[in-house]
Amino acid sequence: MWRTRVWLASLSLFIGLTASLLSGAAIAGAGRVPAKGIAPSPCIGPRNSDADLDAIINEVFVSKPRELLTQKIISQEFFDGIRDAQYEICDDRVLDVVTYRRKPPLVVFDSFFMTLLGGESQSLVLGQYLAQDHPKLGTLELHTALMRYVLAQNLNKATPSIQFPQLVQQLVGEPTDVQKYLNVPKANGEIENFVLTSFYFVIFHEFCHVHNGDPDRRLQIAKMSSAAAQEAALVQLEENADACAMDIMNRDEAQYKFSPISFICAFMVTSTQAVLEKVLPPQRGSATHPAPQERLDKAYQTSIAYIQAQPDGARYKASIDGVYQHFADLLPK
């Protein structure tokens, strides 16, 4: 998908969460909300205008559910529940994706969050190629360097923006031609696959919330008298959405050649959340997501359960274990 390639080439890795204190007519059918088609606008900052990013999200948000319905991977009932969902992409620097309780449902993406996933995808794949030429480097070190940089950007707003080649150069300690790796068709394909799969996980996690009627459930949960019960119920909604998205992705993956990519992408999203945990002030008694470690553990257990049922399970378990350990190490202590 050339759009992914174009978009990745333009990534500037400034993915800091904003700290500055700033500051409809529904269209039938899934797709991005037209520029003037929604009121009030869900964006805090400006509306994102990157056509390549929009094309990638549109591919997963609009085309993928139709494809999965045709392949009977999702039910007609699931499809009907999400077919009219709309999306919006905002340049908000909130590192978040939110499903709004509107009719039709509205999923709001933060371009910085999606950019971070793109950067992570690139670093995970590129890191493997880099390690072949630089034996002292571990395959996941580039990803670690990226996440540390993002963390530093969020904790210290004065940290400058960085381009991907600069990050690589910092890690390797000498000028490095990143393009050499990116020109390898296999590497490119792997990066694209990673990006799309991570978007797939994020988007279907939100679709699962819509399908499960979670926005309405949250209203019921808000009426619970005990804060602990509320937290437990909200965390359960997230775990269910994670499991639902992973289940769809695995059924999709299983029809071709089974690989653990969906789990790696799930780890990627959860590690992003872990970075946020470090950046955001502690939420007083209003935890709505499982703790990062808990979420990672769940994703790991689910992936192992899937893998063990597959013929190549043993081969993939080692990869899953390594990736699990890597992401677990990234979690703020």
């Binding site: 969460l17 009030p40 869900p42």
Partner: protein, 203 residues
């Protein structure tokens, strides 16, 4: 003589009647030199105070925080004529007019130089007061705009809290926005209160 009595009486009544008619419908007294001006200041001040009152009511509905409103409340209880600068202007205007009635032919500055000078200085004070109250009205209007910003931020936050977020980042940033907008509005109300203090306290 008796035969002239009746026509003369009728003539007197007619003249009197015509006089009354002219006085009521045709004759106009010479315009007062300053009462219209004074009324103008009073009306302008009243209009600004009314607008400010409405603004502050709108702000109160949207503002949940606390801010100093002592002088805003005091000012809201006052009528324009209670304000010292306008009261003094009105008094000085009456003194000037009384003086001019005693010297109707002379030019104002020559006939009543002291009264006129005093009146002019009171007018300056009234103009300053009017400007200050306009400024106060502007401050309350800004508070309305800030209250709208706060209201929108609260709506955005409420909508995000009733939705499902991936990381809580959006909710957190919107919480910061609400807190900032609340603080901003409180500062604006404090600024309006400081202006009200100047107005209420102005001699």
């Amino acid at each position: 003589m008796k035969k002239y009595f009746f026509p003369v009486a009728v003539l007197i009544v007619i003249v009197f009647g015509v006089g009354l008619f002219l006085q009521k419908h045709v004759w106009k007294p010479a315009p007062a030199i300053c009462s219209d001006d004074v009324r103008g200041y009073e009306e302008a001040v009243q209009s600004s105070l009314t607008a400010s009152g409405k603004n502050l009511q709108e702000v109160a509905v949207k503002f949940g925080g606390s801010a100093s409103k002592t002088y805003i409340d005091k000012l809201s209880e006052l009528h324009p004529t209670d304000l010292l600068a306008l009261k003094a202007c009105d008094t000085q205007c009456k003194l000037l007019e009384r003086c001019l009635n005693q010297n109707p032919k002379a030019a104002v500055a020559q006939a009543c130089p002291k009264e006129y000078a005093d009146y002019k200085s009171r007018v300056d004070a009234a103009i300053q007061l009017e400007q200050k109250i306009k400024e106060y009205e502007g401050a309350t209007q800004t508070a309305v705009d800030k209250a709208d910003t706060l209201s929108k931020a609260k709506q955005q936050l409420a909508e995000v809290q009733s939705g499902n977020g991936a990381s809580g980042g959006r909710e957190e940033v919107l919480k910061q926005h609400v807190a900032a907008a609340q603080e901003d509005l409180a500062a604006q109300v404090n600024a309006a209160d400081a202006l009200a203090k100047e107005i209420v306290g102005s001699p």
